[in-house]
């Protein structure tokens, strides 16, 4: 579908901004299931898509929603869904299918506090490791985390672009706070928005191999109904797409699936550095907690503590090299996130024991106040 860009200045929630971002990226199909605090995305899409020539469907559960999204993408339409924790758990099965079959799609997780039903109306960042490893087997994934409605808009476009470029599901790991926060969102003119569509199959139909890596290690995609007679399976398969039940085929497929991400980290990873050049303490944060952290950096600097912030725009793949580089020159790390230590574990791993890594975490339900970050900075980095 053609991108539908709602150019202008708006006052909208993060959820609505995700929906508009999807439409601006050319999303033509949304399948979902109601769940707080992501329902507004489905509601917005149910009103907007049919008038633009796209299709919205509310499925019977999140398993079906994710399956429908993959089916629609295989039929050549940019597709997305949105959910929260319990629904994200149900989607894990078919997120694995999208990874294995290399089907582009976008999944928005408006995180709420868990485990289980948890706090349905209150925010958290507790699904970050689930985003990385929640579907079974080993794989690479891309996840972004917006800090504001404005960024939710741009990141959803970016998620589609990455998904179409690398043929894999891309996650937007937002949260209830950003999702329900109303702020100014400026949507630019259509011609300045960059959108990417997957490379599609060309050439002789009888010789086409649907999983033979092309540019960047990504295979051009044959769309259902174009006459390529492709076979697509969640079983371990070769470049022809045929199931092959051997150790060698598994190794080759895993190399294709993980290699296309691992070989292009420079193109995929996005971070933002704030006052890190002379920083002695590096705060690592993402999503709404990065706003907490930004306030903490300002206050700490005012109090003479040389703190800086590395904001993760993409959380997965993890910016390992950047953390390792920082570990050589800072006195320590502080990770700020609304869980009891998830990305903190990654920071600790990359710090490699060279410098200490601390967590300012929270069990979920609200944002972390900047004061808690400052207290940690003061306590742990006393001169």
């Amino acid at each position: 579908m053609k991108p539908a860009v709602l150019t202008g200045e708006h006052f909208m929630t993060g959820d609505e901004a995700c929906a508009e971002g999807g439409l601006a990226a050319g999303c033509g199909f949304f399948a979902g299931y109601p769940i707080t605090p992501a329902t507004e995305i489905a509601e917005h899409m149910s009103a907007r898509l049919p008038e633009l020539g796209g299709t919205f469907i509310q499925m019977e559960d999140e398993i079906a929603a994710m399956a429908a999204v993959i089916g629609a993408s295989c039929a050549g339409v940019k597709s997305m869904t949105a959910t929260s924790g319990p629904g994200f758990s149900l989607m894990m099965e078919n997120i694995g299918l999208a990874i294995c079959t290399e089907t582009p799609c976008v999944i928005i997780n408006v995180q709420r506090a868990g485990p289980s039903t948890g706090l349905p109306t209150q925010g958290a960042q507790g699904d970050m490791m689930q985003a990385r490893w929640g579907s079974h087997g080993h794989y690479e994934i891309i996840a972004l985390a917006p800090s504001s409605p404005q960024e939710a808009f741009y990141q959803t476009i970016e998620a589609f672009n990455l998904s179409e470029t690398y043929r894999l599901p891309v996650l937007i790991m937002t949260d209830e706070i950003v999702g329900h926060l109303s702020e100014r969102v400026v949507i630019p003119k259509e011609d300045v928005i960059r959108t990417v569509s997957r490379l599609t199959a060309k050439g002789r139909k009888d010789r086409f191999k649907p999983f033979e890596p092309g540019p960047r290690g990504v295979a051009p995609m044959a769309i259902a109904g174009e006459g390529y007679s492709i076979h697509v399976t969640g079983l371990t398969h070769d470049e022809k797409g045929y199931p092959v039940m051997t150790v060698e085929a598994q190794a080759e497929m895993m190399e294709r699936l993980t290699g296309k991400v691992r070989q292009n980290l420079h193109d995929i990873i996005r971070t933002e550095s704030y006052r890190l050049d002379d920083a002695e303490i590096a705060i690592i944060s993402y999503g709404v907690s990065a706003r907490t952290s930004l306030a903490a950096v300002e206050e700490a600097r005012a109090q003479g503590i040389k703190a800086g912030l590395l904001r993760l725009i993409t959380v997965w793949p993890f910016p390992e090299d950047r953390i390792r580089e920082l570990a050589k020159r800072v006195r320590g790390f502080v990770t700020v996130e609304i869980n009891l230590g998830q990305i903190h574990l990654e920071v600790e791993r990359c710090a490699g024991g060279g410098v200490p890594a601390f967590l300012v975490g929270h069990p979920g339900g609200t944002i972390i106040p900047p004061e808690r970050v400052i207290d940690t900075l003061k306590e742990t980095f006393k001169r």
Partner: protein, 284 residues
């Protein structure tokens, strides 16, 4: 060995991935018969095969998608129907056939089946019912008759089985039929009708699984086929409530439902889309 001929050796070769043969199905299994019936119907129906897709779930019958030389999608366990729903809605020009088994479509995938039928998604669903989970070695299914032995009901199944045509009818399917793999002509004609029918079509195909089901229930392969011949009666338009599978009493085959109601896409266009947009599309 030298290949001497390039001419097809089987009338369905052009629709088969012959480079994937031999298939995985056991001797005496009925899936191959149901599968070739489905392919014959697709060929004879005159539908545009380049615009036709087969979607399967997981299990022995779910391997169907792997052998057909069309765009074919072997999805996750139970999810063939929602996958097919997304595909059909995204591109209404596609003919989407779901070929899968009873465990896949009616236990793990049961919820998806009833909702696709309710929505009247324009799909043709062929369910090979072999009364058990064959691929995993013969466990009890939602279709296993009461008392039957399987590896997870070693002293007999304590539960009742689904009457699949009744379930399909109650859920809103616009075409419902049941045949056995012995009724190959009727089955092929039925699938052909279903392919050309707009709306959710469902065909149950009773099929032997001698290795995993027959063996444990003291039923020799030929006895199963004999039951298909002697213990069945063709009764079109039979009330769906009478369609329980009980070979002791006799099993009813035939076409039970063939009605028209607007499809999911037609209703969506009519209800949700602005009229101007539809007129624009028509003009284009």
């Amino acid at each position: 060995m030298k290949k001497t001929k390039k001419t097809p050796s089987h009338p369905l070769d052009d629709l088969l991935r012959t480079d994937r043969i031999p298939h995985i199905w056991c001797p005496g299994c009925g899936i191959g018969t149901a599968f070739s019936s489905c392919l014959t119907a697709m060929k004879e129906s005159g539908i545009d095969l380049a615009k036709s897709v087969m979607v399967s779930g997981i299990g022995c019958s779910g391997r169907g998608a792997g052998y057909v030389k069309l765009d074919s999608y072997h999805t996750t366990h139970g999810r063939a129907i929602p996958f097919a729903t997304g595909m059909k809605l995204a591109n209404p020009e596609l003919n989407v056939v779901v070929f899968s088994g009873d465990g896949d479509l009616f236990a793990i995938g049961g919820n998806h089946f009833i909702h696709a039928a309710r929505r009247n998604v324009d799909l043709t669903v062929v369910c090979v019912n072999n009364f058990n989970y064959g691929m995993t070695g013969g466990q009890v299914a939602a279709t296993t008759p009461y008392g039957a032995k399987t590896t997870t009901t070693p002293v007999g199944n304590p539960e009742a089985a689904f009457n699949l045509p009744l379930l399909a009818f109650a859920s809103g399917a616009t075409y419902v039929a049941r045949w056995t793999i012995l009724h190959i002509r009727e089955l092929t004609e039925s699938i052909k009708e279903a392919l050309l029918k707009r709306g959710f079509s469902f065909i149950e195909v009773l099929s032997p699984c001698p290795v995993n089901y027959g063996r444990r229930n003291k039923e020799r392969p030929l006895e199963t086929l004999r039951a298909y011949q002697e213990r069945t009666i063709i009764k079109n338009n039979a009330p769906p409530t009478e369609l329980d599978v009980d070979f002791a009493k006799g099993v009813i085959l035939g076409k039970f439902v063939d009605v028209d109601r607007p499809t999911c896409i037609e209703m969506y266009d009519k209800t949700c889309r602005p009229r101007e947009l539809l007129e624009e599309e028509k003009a284009a």
